[in-house]
Symmetry: C2
Subunit: 146 residues, 2 copies
């Protein structure tokens, strides 16, 4: 089993970051504009660059310090993996410890997703700090895989 790990610090109150991770409008502000569903049950993320494909996330935990999802729809490599955001306040920063865990094999797609997650987490930081992130379809391109 392999994990993708990231850490970003958002210069904003913890509640602002939490809102960006747990509401449809918030998630649409930094990950993908095409975000739908029930933020207490299953959230549906779709990506124009993937021809409208995407991910369905079942919300397992939603507390001020931890947001945790299970991937219940999406590419085979993602199904059954878990995505979590652990939040803490340090001085002026809300620290986000991100983990996408449970990859069965470190396939090339995992390398790609690790880099994309980094750019999306930087989009989260910019969105909360400035009001303007870079969600899909205006996300930062990292390679021929978008």
């Amino acid at each position: 089993m392999s994990d993708i790990l990231h850490r970003v610090g958002v210069i904003a109150p913890l509640t602002d970051v939490h809102t960006a991770l747990t509401t449809i409008d918030g998630l649409a502000g930094w990950w993908t504009e095409d975000t739908k569903g029930d933020p207490d049950e299953v959230i549906e993320f779709r990506f124009a660059s993937a021809g409208g494909d995407g991910f369905d996330m079942k919300v397992l935990e939603n507390s001020p310090e931890l947001v945790r999802w299970e991937v219940v729809g999406g590419p085979d490599e993602w199904i059954g993996t878990h995505v979590s955001f652990r939040l803490s306040q340090v001085d002026d920063y809300t620290i986000v410890l991100f983990k996408h865990e449970g990859w069965r094999e470190p396939v090339n797609f995992m390398y790609h997703c690790s880099t994309k997650w980094a750019t999306y987490l930087m989009s989260l930081k910019q969105y909360v700090e400035t009001g303007a992130g870079a969600p899909s379809p205006n996300d930062i391109l990292v390679s021929n895989w978008h």
Copy 2:
């Protein structure tokens, strides 16, 4: 043991990316301006934001398809780990499969380094594609840990 994985695609010939990974001028163009040493033996990378601390990399492999270093100087968590860049050409892209392997524990510093590596690899991409990267001390800040 845990690994940091990334994948970026640089719109440039493979030899251009290889040069950026194996020459002092190339490395100074995207990772840190304070790069010194012998690119066939040990390369010394220093970072102003770390008070002049940094990393010493022993070059283990340098072929067109693979550049691989051992960390022989730097923070405890890095000593003995390996950093590699595997290159291949796909259409107009040079694909870089990056791995920083051998972390003993997934400490918070590893989360941080994963995100920083992503931003530096995007700097590599921009440097090779446009001539202007974002090396230290003008690197992209991701948190209170810089």
